[in-house]
Structure formats: C-alpha cells, structure tokens
C-alpha cells in the first residue's frame, strides 16, 4: 500500500491561487465521489482550509492514482498545475504529521489546523471514503500532534497583538470574567484586541472616540457603551483594562492625570495597552503602583519571542515526528494489503 499526498499551501502560492483550488463543504461529497472513481484509489481525505488544500490518498497502484489526482485538481482550476504531488509514502506521512503538529502552518505551532484535520477526516470517514490505512494514518497523526504539543514548547506563548494582550490580562487579573475595558480611539487593532478580551469573558466595554458616531457604531458591534471623548475620564470608574489607539500627536494619558483618576480606583491593577503611534500614554505611567503599561513595540516583542521559542522547538518536534513516521511505515510494511 502507498500513501499519496497532493495539494497547495500558503508556502507555494498566494491566496488568489489557493482559492481556485479550495473545496468548500458543499462540494466535499462530490469531490470525494469523483476521487473514488480514480482507478486504483483505495481511500481519500480532502483537507481544505484558508492556508491549504490537500488530498491524502491510499493506493496499491500509486502512479495512475497520482495522475488521476493531478487531473482532478487541474480540472477544478482551469488548468493550473498542482505544485505538490508525491506518491512517496515516507514524504506523504511525514507531511501529514508535520501539518497536524502545526509545523507547516503560517503561524508555526498554531493548533487550529488539528481541528480542521479532524473535521476533514471525519467528513471523509462518514462518507465511506477512508480505508484501514488512512484510518490508521490519521489516528496516528492526531496522536503525534498531541505528543508534540505536550512534550515541546511549539504552542508556547501568544503570537498576535490580540492574543498577547489577552495572555497579559490573564497574568494580571486571572479570570477576565466581569472585568471592564475602555477603548480610547476606535481603530481596527483596538477593536480586534477588545474582541479578543470580550471572547474571554470581559463584562463591559466603554468606547470613546473623537467621532462619537464611530464610537457608537463600535460599541454597538461589540455590545459596549459609547461615551464622548472629552468625558472619558469621568467614565473611568472600575475600568481594569484601557486600550488606547487615538491619532493624537501627544500623550493624552499623562502620569499626573492618571494619578488623579486612580485615587478612586482602589487597589485594583490597571492594564494599559497603548497601540497608538505616536504613543497616547506617557511612559512614566508604568512606574505607578499596580499600573502595567504595554505599548505596541513591547507587545510585538513578546509575540516575536513566542515565535522564536516556537522556531527553536522545531528541531525537537521533527525528531519526535520522525520516530512516529518510522513506526507508521513499519506498520504499513506489515500490513501491505488493501482493506476497507
């Protein structure tokens, strides 16, 4: 039995090309049915996400099946040649294990791909498109992904501004349920950060923007309250997290102003995320007790650190994956025949 793999990923092609190959959920059954008409094909799984479209297949007669898969993909893309196609079991198995472990993802170590692989496998299995070898292969891939995640630091730390902000908020407040957020300046990044925080249980979001309509629109979208920009400090009571991203040319949150506001704030910590350039918050604010100020550079630096840690872990992940590839190929060697 041979395992084949073909497809296109974010490494080989831009989104405009990838979307031509994409196989939507509504087309999946039809695609699997078409693939099963390829002579010699024993089973197939289609993985289609925003970053990759890949087909995994098993066959006793790999060369015609490889050509059949090529033809299938070419027919869907008005003649575009598929950049990656192999009938080498070693390369195919290794590739799937790397994908499942997040090593082939755009953000190395991300875990969303594992869920997408599980969905793809489940859909193929429900449709009766998998055989014993593909079943074993995918179950093994899920085990590898779990081991790689638990035994290495490949998923360590946050890698985007929003997730770093959520992580830091967690390290300050623990549970974010019931916390109150204020947004000063309704920009795209501040909106994304606020949405990340809301998804983790933040209770109230107050939006202040120079254009009140924009503040009201954003508040409406994320279930918050809008206030006039000139009155932001009067609505500051019990605010735990302040996100700033105004276009002001000078700091709007100075140490003196904040000291005055914090008199009624009790001992609760205040987490300030300053996403503005030039900065909205005077750097000396970080010296105040219970105040933790992060500007865009420091947040991006933490995200970079996480990515570096993940990059450094790739070698350890690859070593783990190689042992599993060898195990699987050994199993395949002992179970060469076709079975459903």
């Amino acid at each position: 039995m041979t395992i084949l793999c073909a497809g296109i990923t974010h490494r080989e092609a831009a989104l405009e090309i990838r979307e031509k190959f994409a196989i939507g959920n509504h087309e999946l059954q039809e695609a699997l049915d078409t693939l099963r008409t390829i002579e010699g094909l024993c089973g197939a799984v289609v993985v289609s996400t925003c970053n990759r479209v890949e087909l995994y297949a098993s066959s006793m007669n790999p060369l015609p099946v490889r050509d059949g898969i090529r033809r299938f993909l070419k027919s869907r893309t008005c003649g575009l040649e598929v950049p990656f196609c192999t009938e080498d079991s070693l390369l195919s198995v290794r590739h799937l294990f790397r994908v499942a472990s997040g090593l082939e993802s755009m953000v190395v170590g991300e875990t969303e791909i594992l869920g997408q692989l599980k969905q793809a496998y489940s859909a193929a299995s429900d449709h009766g498109a998998t055989n014993a070898h593909l079943n074993k292969l995918f179950q093994h891939a899920f085990r590898v992904a779990k081991q790689v995640r638990t035994e290495t630091n490949i998923t360590r730390g946050a890698t985007s501004v929003g997730s770093v902000a959520v992580d830091l908020a967690g390290k300050i407040f623990g549970d974010l349920g019931g916390r109150k957020v204020m947004i000063l300046g309704a920009g795209d990044t501040s909106e994304r950060v606020a949405r990340s925080l809301v998804s983790r249980g933040v209770r109230t979001v107050i939006v202040a923007n120079r254009t009140f309509d924009r503040a009201a629109a954003l508040a409406d979208q994320i279930g918050g309250l809008a206030v006039h920009f000139d009155h932001w400090h009067t609505a500051f009571d019990e605010v735990d997290i302040l996100i700033c991203s105004t276009a002001a040319p000078h700091p709007i949150v100075t140490r003196e102003k904040l000291e005055l506001i914090l008199r009624g704030h009790g001992e609760r910590p205040l987490f300030i995320i300053d996403l503005a350039v030039p900065r909205d918050v005077d750097a000396s604010v970080n010296e105040l007790e219970n105040v933790y100020l992060y500007d865009i550079d420091s947040i991006e630096e933490i995200a970079r650190q996480s990515l570096n840690i993940r990059q450094a872990e790739i070698v350890r992940c690859e070593a783990l994956i190689e042992t599993h590839v060898a195990d699987f190929l050994h199993w395949m060697h002992n179970h060469p025949t076709h079975s459903r």
Partner: protein, 261 residues
Amino acid sequence: MPNFLLFASTLILLCSFGYTMFRLGSGRLRPGRTNLAALIAAFLLILGDLWLRGQAQHSCPINSLFDVLVFTAWSIILIYLLVGSAYRLSLLGAFTTPLVLLMLLTAEFAPLDRTPRLRAMRDPWIEFHASLSLIAYGAFALAGLAGIMYLLQDRQLKSRKGGTLLYNLPPITDLAIANTRLIWLGLGLLTVAFAAGFVSGMQVNSIKFWTSASIWLAYALMVALRQIHTLAPRRTATLSIAALAFILTTLPVIQHLSAPK
C-alpha cells in the same frame, strides 16, 4: 529509623528541586505534579519521624532546635497542602520545596543541639501553644513565599519582556490575595497559640515575650492596613518577606529561651 525517614524526605525534596531547576533551565516549567508528589511524600515521612520522636520523648517533639526546625518544615508543607491547591498556585510548591529543604538540611547537618530539653511536668497547654505557634510560622512562611512570587511577577510585568517566569507564575491578583489570606491564617493561629500560652500561665522570658509580641504586632498591623487599603499589595508582599526573615532569624533565640532550665 527517625534519621532514615528525615534523610529520605530530604533526598526526595532534593530530587524534586533539581528536577524543577532542570525544567526551568530548559524552559519547560510545569512542576505542579512533581512538586506536589514530592511534598506529599516528604510530609508523610517527616510525620513518621515526628511520631517516632514524639513517642520517644513522651511529648510533642519540639524540645530542641533540631526538633523545632523539623516541625516548622513539616508545618510549612502542611499549610501548603491545605491552602496551596485551594488557590491553584501550583508553582508555590516549587518555591516551598527549597525553603523546606533548607530547613531540613540545616536540621540534619548543621552543628545543632539535638538533646531534647524536657519539662519535669508535661503541660498540654504549653505543648499546644508551642506547636500551634510553629504551624502559624508555617503559614507566615507560605505568605512570605507568595510575597516573593508576587514581587517576581510584578517585576516581570513591569519589565514588559515576557519570558518563562511570566507565563508560569500565577496571576498577580491571585498572588496578592493568597499573600494576604495566608497572613490572616498565620495571625489567627498565632493568636490562638498565644491565648493557650496565657492559659497555661507559663513563665516567659521578657526577650522571648517581646520578640513574639513584635511578630504578632507586625502581622496584625499588616492585615489592619490592608483592610483599610493603606498598604498596597506590593508593600504587603515586601513586608511579609521581611517578617519571614525576622522569624527565621529569631527562631533559634526563641527556642533557646523557651527551653526549661
């Protein structure tokens, strides 16, 4: 047999500490289960040692500086096992281990007087007073360790650099709460212990009295000021560490002055 039990517990904690350091060095610090298992094993072994020595001395085994150090180390683990899990501060175990280890190593290898000085007449109130005071010190020790963790986390967050410690230490708000509650717990236990001391009507040396009273006063002041929000969490953490250092320094003096002449 008692020495064997102590030696075994020390060895287990030493291995756990070494393993934690190794994990910390390799950036894979998830010491919760290892430390917990090591601390439970050490707790049971020291308990066995205390029981055997208690049988031999026919009293609570806190009759020499050696005894006091071992009992205090056991008290620290006891408080950790009782409250550590309640606050989900798994890393507190990683900080508890070196302190307990230090106390056990000092007890076993420092040139201390190990001869128990027993009272002619056993007084259960005095034994209750002394043992509960040491358990209260265990709570203060844990408060000091939570204080150290608070200051480390505060420093990590202020430095804005991320890193292994930041991700592994508990949230700073939880640490502040744990620090204050452990001080409350220690103060409550020490108050009951002092009350038992007064009930026993024992003769107290003035240096011992004022040293103990100043410890009680220092912690009472800390919780009172915390209650009225005059003392910030950062200062409370710093003061709880200073108070722990004072307790550890004066422990031999108090033990010496408490011994029957």
